[in-house]
């Protein structure tokens, strides 16, 4: 075979592999949505689960998942923004930053079940809280921190130096420059990153089994603040949607456990799709909103996002 023929054959193989991966994703979506058909019905989405009879819903699990997401973002966004600012602006390159980066790397590569077990020690046993939503949020914050810190740091570093220099030249302090000039320019990238990480929090499961628990009390909106039945109480057990699917699969005794798992999986898939669309939308809208002829920079932002 000539070199030219080999080249053609390999080109064909590459096209086939790429097409197969795209086909695989479409197949996944088709299976999940067809097996979980009917997941959009309100009595399923907002209904109470039932332990013994068929026809239960996933209302509390859905509430838990979203509430967990909100609490986690409230914890992890300020922390990772602060850490990102420190690494990008204040930290002197050297041994200390190297050590912090090593810690970030370590954190990022820990399996989520290991973080979940640490959560069991620290936020369940040591604090004496038992299984709580807050414990789950704290544990998943640990998982979320390294990625989000990296996103914030990169976004800040990607802001052109002349923006910063201009502000400093006008006599602003470093912090003023950061808050009033650098951060606004970095916001489109940060927001996109936060939304994508929100998708990951929503889909996380292993860490919640040991921190937020496998049960949810009967929730009532009119319950007292301190009561376990109050949906907004963070000191209550909170089984998330992902944990629910896992539990249905391993020890579900409801007659229609399979169908509930299928529908819940469909809800999760749609949520993943929506988070991705939202990230795309946010990045293009915000980029347009903040762009003052910085088109070249936006191109670079696109590339670093793919990383």
């Amino acid at each position: 075979m000539t070199a030219r023929m080999i080249d053609k054959v390999w080109t064909g193989i590459f096209y086939a592999v790429a097409a197969a991966v795209i086909g695989l994703l479409m197949f996944f979506f088709a299976v999940v949505l067809s097996k979980g058909a009917g997941f959009w019905q309100p009595e399923f989405l907002f209904g109470r689960p039932s332990n013994t009879q068929a026809g239960g819903g996933i209302g509390p699990q859905l509430i838990n998942s979203f509430y967990m997401l909100v609490v986690t973002l409230l914890l992890s966004v300020p922390l990772s923004l602060g850490a990102g600012i420190y690494l990008a602006e204040y930290a002197k390159q050297g041994r200390i930053v190297g050590f912090i980066r090593l810690c970030l790397e370590t954190m990022a590569s820990l399996p989520s079940i290991v973080v979940g077990l640490f959560g069991l020690l620290a936020f369940v046993t040591l604090t004496g809280w038992g299984y709580t939503l807050l414990g789950g949020a704290l544990a998943v914050t640990i998982i979320n921190l390294p990625g989000l810190t990296r996103i914030c740091e990169t976004a800040i570093l990607d802001v052109p130096a002349n923006i910063k220099e201009g502000s400093l030249a006008l006599g602003a302090t470093r912090w003023q420059t950061l808050v009033k000039a650098v951060l606004p320019a970095a916001i489109p990238q940060i927001v996109t990153g936060v939304i994508l990480s929100a998708g990951r929090i929503f889909g996380e499961a292993a860490v919640f089994i040991y921190t937020a628990g496998l049960t949810t009390p009967m929730l009532r909106w009119d319950a007292d603040w301190g009561s376990q039945a109050n949906p907004l109480n963070v000191f209550r057990p909170a089984e998330t949607l992902t944990v629910h699917i896992w539990k249905l699969n391993s020890e579900g005794i409801v007659p229609d456990a399979k169908l509930i798992a299928a529908k819940s999986a469909a809800v999760l898939m749609v949520a993943v799709l929506l988070f991705n669309l939202a990230a795309r939308l946010a990045s293009s809208l915000l980029a347009r909103h903040f762009s003052g002829g910085r088109r070249a920079r936006r191109g670079r932002g696109e590339r670093s996002k793919a990383a």
């Binding site: 070199a3 080999i6 080249d7 080109t11 590459f14 592999v17 790429a18 991966v21 795209i22 994703l25 996944f28 299976v31 999940v32 922390l79 990772s80 923004l81 602060g82 850490a83 600012i85 420190y86 690494l87 204040y90 930290a91 050590f99 912090i100 810690c103 370590t106 590569s109 820990l110 399996p111 989520s112 079940i113 290991v114 973080v115 077990l117 640490f118 069991l120 046993t125 640990i142 810190t149 302090t173 470093r174 003023q176 994508l196 889909g203 996380e204 499961a205 292993a206 089994i209 040991y210 699917i245 896992w246 399979k258 798992a261 999760l268 898939m269 993943v272 795309r280 793919a306 990383a307």
Partner: protein
């Protein structure tokens, strides 16, 4: 004028302090995690009197027996087999995709492929597990007989989960190879495939290796999807179609059923510590093989 200036510096001071605290919090959390898990993990040896060599080299895991036995070798081997198997399927496909995206695909195809990879990353692990249980396991049951819950099921599910990770890192590594390499190769009369396979890929091999190790690490630590399809039988697999158990799957199943402080519970914490040490090992490997970063 005076107070205004003072406020400015106060603001600077507070802001800076906040940033420094956040930076150091990361160190604090990481170190605390390591210490907690290490303290808990060595209780098997300090409190329960188990021996390290039994734990690491024995295949007898029988916590209910008399005397109870806590050999973890089956789980360690199970984890290795399932993640190496996943890597064997995933790495070549990921490399092909990365090459395709960088050098071959037309723009519109890339803009189709990128969101697909992002979505594949975004699919929650329990959904992968669920897909495995509902599609893959029945299929394998038909082909090989048995229950369908098997090492192979775990390998296939994991290979899909780590594919996007390896692809995106390999793609970045390839994109960082200077275009002049490609041009020089063309200038010498090579075809595209020759340029890619003999110049570009070797030049990017450190980055590609990083992606592969990260994929391996991810596969090793994945818990629920594997636990759902691998069958969780405590014996070495006799073949690809036989069930086995991994470090993560036994932790997932048993941790909640054991009482704190008992030898069984302590042994499980030791498994968690082993998992932690293995992920340290992966970090060390990445630091060794990875490309030097500027910035």
């Amino acid at each position: 004028m005076h107070t205004k200036r003072r406020n400015r510096w106060l603001e600077e001071y507070i802001g800076r302090t906040f940033a420094v605290i956040c930076g150091w919090l990361i160190v604090l959390i990481t170190v605390t995690m390591i210490i907690f898990l290490a303290v808990k993990g060595i209780q098997s040896f300090t409190d329960s009197g188990l021996s390290l060599s039994d734990m690491l080299l024995s295949m007898q895991w029988d916590p209910n027996g008399t005397p109870p036995k806590y050999g973890a070798l089956i789980f360690i081997v199970g984890s290795m087999l399932v993640s190496l198997g996943a890597l064997l399927i995933s790495a070549p496909i990921a490399l092909a995709l990365a090459i395709f995206m960088n050098f071959i695909a037309p723009k519109w195809f890339v803009s189709l492929l990128k969101p697909v990879l992002e979505l594949l990353v975004g699919i929650p692990s329990v959904v992968y597990g669920w897909l495995g249980v509902t599609i893959l396991v029945p299929l394998l049951r038909e082909w090989f007989g048995g229950s369908g819950f098997s090492l192979l099921a775990g390998i296939i599910v994991l290979s899909m989960m780590i594919l996007p990770t390896i692809t995106s890192i390999a793609a970045d590594a390839l994109a960082n190879v200077p275009m002049t390499y490609m041009e020089a190769s063309y200038g010498l009369g090579s075809t595209r495939w020759q340029a890619i396979s003999r110049v570009i890929v070797p030049a990017a091999k450190a980055g590609i290796a990083t992606g592969v190790v990260l994929g391996l690490a991810r596969a090793f630590g994945e818990a629920l999807a594997v636990q759902m399809v691998i069958g969780n039988t405590i014996k070495l697999p006799s073949g690809l179609d036989s069930p086995t158990a991994t470090l993560t799957s036994v932790l997932t199943m048993d941790m909640a059923n054991t009482i704190n402080g008992t030898p069984w519970n302590n042994a499980l914490w030791t498994l968690a510590l082993i998992l932690l040490l293995i992920s340290f090992f992966f970090i060390a490997v990445i630091r060794l093989v990875g490309p030097r970063k500027e910035r």
